[in-house]
Amino acid sequence: MVEELRKKAEELLRSGKVEAIIGYQRSNGSASTTPCFIEAEDEVTRLVWDEHCVYNLTLYLKEMKKKAGVVAKGCDAKAVVALIQENQIERDQVQIIGVECERQLDGKGRVLEKCKTCQVHIPGIYDVLIRSKTPTSKTEKEELAEEDDAVRELEAKPVSERWRFWQKQFEKCIRCYACRQICPLCYCPECITEKTMPQWILPSPSLKGNTAWNVVRAFHLAGRCVDCGECERVCPVGIPLRKLNKKLEKEIKTMFDYVPGLDPEKKPPLTDFRMDDPEEFVR
């Protein structure tokens, strides 16, 4: 796969379709990887692809001022769809180098939680696709079952217990905003946390401010979050942010029969309105 990836990247650069490739390279001689930005054809040998390529590189598209190619796993490609839907990038400005993904590993060599319930081993949107020689064997049915369970466990608990659970989690937050910074869909030029008049969210790491921040982050991603899981992966104190995201994903699915990141032509429900909306206040 790596050879094919490098070949395709080289072609894209040579043809002038892109001026830069955002990909993965080895991190300082170790097995882990770090994002890389390649602008010259002879640098494509830096590109790698394996189970250590965890990052969602589409994050960097919003900063790119030139035509770029991006190496994208299935989950990452969903973010590109959302960015197109929200007019953050233009489809013809980006070349998606889709990679068929099996499952990725965290820093300790464990399979990432999101990969256990993945349904997009092959990206839903791409310009170039690099297929795996050993595709995953899991059936779609098994995956769906697991996914349901992950949300249900917490939902089954009474409100007071859920509140205690999250208070304990938010207490740990150090407000480093890595969750926001790593998110491809957190692209506001000025985040609500940065506004001081009025100060919507207390800036210091108090339980009150932390709760407000974490709730707002999740709410702002409702119907938009594509579950790439990067926020949870980077949280230095281990707040299970995917649980919040997944819950909202489920709510959106139930209410609007909508799954984010699948169809660039569809309008995300929370940015759309229709004259036949049953709610009076919307019309």
């Binding site: 991190s27 300082n28 882990s32 990887t33 770090t34 994002p35 890389c36 930005f37 990052y55 994050l59 960097y60 900063e63 740990k172 150090i174 407000r175 480093c176 905003y177 890595a178 926001r180 910074q181 790593i182 940065e194 100060q199 207390l202 800036p203 210091s204 790491p205 108090s206 401010g209 992966r233 980077v234 230095p236 104190v237 281990g238």
Partner: protein
Amino acid sequence: MKRLLKKDELEKMVADLMENYDVIAPVLKEELIAFQPITRTDQILWDYPNSLKPVKEFFLPPREVLFRFKQGKAEPMSPAPKKRLIWGSRPCDARSLLLLDKVFLDETKDIYYFEKRENTLLIGLSCSDPQESCFCTSFGSGPHSKEGLDLLMTHLKDGTFVVESNSPRGEELVKGRGRVVNTKDEERQEKVKEEAEGKIERALQPDSFLEKLVNGFGSPYWDKACLQCISCGICRYLCPTCHCFDIADEDSERVRFWDACSFPNFTKMTSGENPRHTKRERFKQWYNHKFNYFKQNHGVFLCVGCGRCLRSCPVKIDFREVLDRIPAQTASPGGKG
């Protein structure tokens, strides 16, 4: 004075100290290694890589109330006089406090910081197993350094510890406990020390960083070097020597809390002007502060080589590489700044 104590003797010592001190020690808390006040000695971790957050959090807390106000009147917080003892700090973290002292004590005495420093004893635990990301020896410290500590404990890997005092207060704590070490104990301690130092394979040349940073200030190198950075605050917050803070009024409290130079708002002025208006400037600032400005202002590098920034970066930026790759230039071309 060096003494030899068995682990249970040390535990007895902690238990005795708890009567007069708030004892803060490394514990395992939801899979994270954290320093926190303990109530039982069996909570203590005796062998751990390093804590997620450095011990600076007990001197410059992530959030600290400076005073409360009510109906136009301020109620000053009386800094708690309760004596504290930090048990099992790694030598790198202890050294970081000496660097923070230069900021918070040398010119203007920061009373909040000062009170905590005065009231806190530091008991260190030598590193026997430094990690790949550790490089304390490049910054004048070492896995067995006593610098900044009242006591240093070194595990001889058989359940006994050499406990070495490094201050009169430390000497007082250990007086009469265990037994005085003999030559054989000291030889074994030396062996453990050499083993630990041997595990730190990579030596950095900080002086070369200074020169490259000064000359490469306006280099186009930074345009590309900053690309990977996602501009979060992890490396700054988890760094034992980063000490920038913000101040705000929250409800009826004036609080100060950690701030990070990676955030766009860090340098934003009320006029709306922002002197570090791009990621490039903000990225570069961290390196310059640690290896250029602080060295020029205080004579030392603002780094203790604990490696937290390497281990915790969400996109695995290796700051050693960033510094190594700054192109050597003879003079700054200026320009972009």
